[in-house]
């Protein structure tokens, strides 16, 4: 039985804003199905005696002191806006993003 349907792949692609052709949907469905199959073989292992791991690397969270770096903590505005598709004065300009019904 397949672990994922092509509809679920399409839905996931929509959420991730990915535009997929029918061919890509079929290929990805097959590949994801195989990946989920590997997961299933992991699930068949008995891990009852193993401590749960929350992260692959045994590191403590490094913490940073709350200080503004003395040297150029910020990008100059023109540099910050350099890659903006469009700018309006010192703002990034984007298509209107609020949607309401009255």
């Amino acid at each position: 039985m397949s672990k994922i349907t092509s509809d679920e792949v399409r839905q996931t692609a929509t959420l991730a804003r990915l535009e997929l052709s029918d061919g890509e949907v079929h290929r990805l469905t097959r590949e994801l199905d195989a990946i989920l199959g590997y997961m299933e073989s992991l699930a068949s292992l008995d891990v009852s005696g193993v401590e749960p791991t929350t992260h692959a690397v045994p590191l403590d969270m490094p913490l940073r002191d709350d200080v503004l770096e003395a040297l150029e903590p910020h990008l100059p505005v023109d540099l910050a806006l350099l890659d903006a598709p469009k700018r309006h004065d010192a703002f990034f300009e984007v298509p209107k993003i609020i949607e309401v019904t009255e």
Binding site: L63, L68, A80, F92, V94, I98
Partner: protein, 465 residues
């Protein structure tokens, strides 16, 4: 059918750190548009988050102040696409928040109530978008993007707009008290969404809720909840169904409207942030923070009442930690708490700033208590203290304002007042006892306000008997 409202609040508090939660760009409010960005804020490729210690400490202090369990935790990516979030996800916490449970006490009509918390978690703020009326574009400023937030999620235990408002005020009081946020709703450092539903009284199942947004003052929060309760009650009364939706409050119209429901069913695809290891909480560090917590507003409110203050006065003096500290400073001098409370609420809080130090006000009140000066003269002395920064005793001695309590001086003054006003004497003797005030006034005028009023009163009564 009698209905009850069920309200839960999600409150976002901006933490007053110098830098952002995952990068060392400035977290200051305002600034020229896009002047507080750096490569991480703009999600440029190759940048990685590094957690701000001060933000964690602030969140833990908040959690400890409301009795949360402080737990080791993880950050998670919450995915959504919106121009205010350059990364395409918000770093938040999902299954493992920093603070679990907790209880927030609050005052409503002088009565202590409380609401339980589900959790408090840490996350980053989004940028700010501006929508120009009639324009097909929006403008985005990323200065706010990445400012540390705590989201405080309450259980759905509030039952009225007034309770919700009182709870929210208690949160603001607390975050200011702890010094972790300025709690300013107008500037957005305190924000609130409300989940509101109604159900028949006695029913334990929750009704379908609406989520209210866009309320940027305490008044708006209360009005929007009030409106929503009425709207849903109306639907139920007409036999219609409440639809689950997000509604935006329109303060000008005093109504709310539904947001377009395209993305109502959120699918944020949370997953653990791979670029950050789990945050392990050291129990000893937590205990150190707990031990350093100040006396909290409710404890102080109770202690002030145990000093003889009314619940109302205790409330005024604990509205803000600076006021409470000031009051404690005045009382430490050894003067009557009641008198100190009166002086602070009438004289100090009516002015801007703290130009007369607590100990200096204590010295002035002590001069009233030991009858060196009258309360009336004391007000003039206080004005001079405020204006010149001089001490109470120095002003009283320097200007010869010491109260006259010598009967040898007061008696002739009283006699003179009586002899000069035969008409008023006749009225007094005719039964108009209020006339005594007139004579006291005459004596006070003759002594430039320095006569001890109680003694003058007594002497006059004897002379007029």
């Amino acid at each position: 059918m009698k209905l009850e409202a069920v309200i839960g609040l999600e409150v976002h508090v901006q933490l007053a750190t110098r830098t952002k939660i995952f990068t060392s760009a400035s977290a200051a409010f305002g600034g020229a548009p896009n002047s507080h960005t750096d490569p991480y804020t703009l999600a440029l490729p190759g940048t990685l988050p590094v957690l701000n210690r001060a933000a964690v400490d602030a969140a833990m202090r908040l959690g400890l102040a409301v009795d949360c369990e402080i737990a080791s935790c993880r950050f998670a990516r919450k995915h959504y696409f919106y121009p205010d979030s350059p990364k395409g996800y918000q770093l938040s916490q999902y299954e493992e928040p920093l603070c679990k449970g907790g209880v927030v006490p609050f005052l409503l009509d002088g009565e202590v109530r409380s609401v339980r918390l589900t959790r408090i978690h840490m996350e980053e703020d989004a940028g700010k978008s501006m929508h120009l009326a009639g324009s097909p574009v929006s403008l985005v400023d990323y200065n706010r993007c990445g400012v540390p937030l705590c989201e405080i999620v309450s259980e759905p235990e509030l039952r009225s707009a007034a309770e919700a408002g009182a709870y929210l005020r208690a949160i603001r009081q607390l975050v200011r008290w702890l010094g972790i946020s300025d709690g300013n709703m107008e500037e957005g450092s305190l924000r609130c969404d409300a989940n509101v539903s109604v159900r028949p009284v006695g029913e334990s199942k929750l009704g379908t809720k609406a989520e209210l947004k866009n309320m940027n003052s305490f008044k708006h929060v209360e009005a929007a909840i009030e409106y929503e309760i009425a709207r849903q009650s109306d639907l139920v009364a007409r036999g219609e169904r409440v639809v689950q939706e997000t509604r935006l409050w329109n303060a000008d119209k005093g109504t709310s409207h539904a947001m377009r429901s395209k993305e109502q069913a959120h699918d944020y695809r949370y997953f653990p942030e791979p670029d950050l290891p789990p945050l392990t909480v050291d129990p000893a560090a937590v205990e150190r923070l707990r031990a350093q917590l100040p006396e909290l507003p409710l404890a102080r409110w109770r202690r002030f009442q145990s000093l003889g203050l009314s619940a109302y006065d205790a409330g005024v003096l604990t509205a803000d930690r600076n006021i409470a500290d000031y009051f404690d400073g005045v009382v430490r001098v050894g003067v009557s708490p009641k008198l100190a409370a009166n002086w602070i609420s009438t004289e100090v809080l009516s002015r801007d700033g703290w130009r007369v130090e607590a100990a200096a006000l204590g010295e002035l009140i002590a001069l009233i208590e030991n009858q060196t000066i009258s309360g009336k003269i004391a007000k003039d002395v206080f004005d001079k203290m405020w204006a010149t920064g001089k001490g109470a005793r120095a002003i009283v001695e320097g200007e010869g304002l010491t109260q006259v309590t010598d009967a040898g001086v007061l008696e002739p003054a009283c006699r003179a007042a009586v002899e000069a006003n035969p008409k008023q004497v006749a009225q007094y003797k005719g039964g108009n006892e209020k006339m005594i005030g007139f004579f006291v006034g005459q004596v006070m005028k003759a002594t430039q306000g320095k006569a001890n009023p109680a003694m003058v009163n007594e002497l006059l009564k004897k002379l007029l008997a």
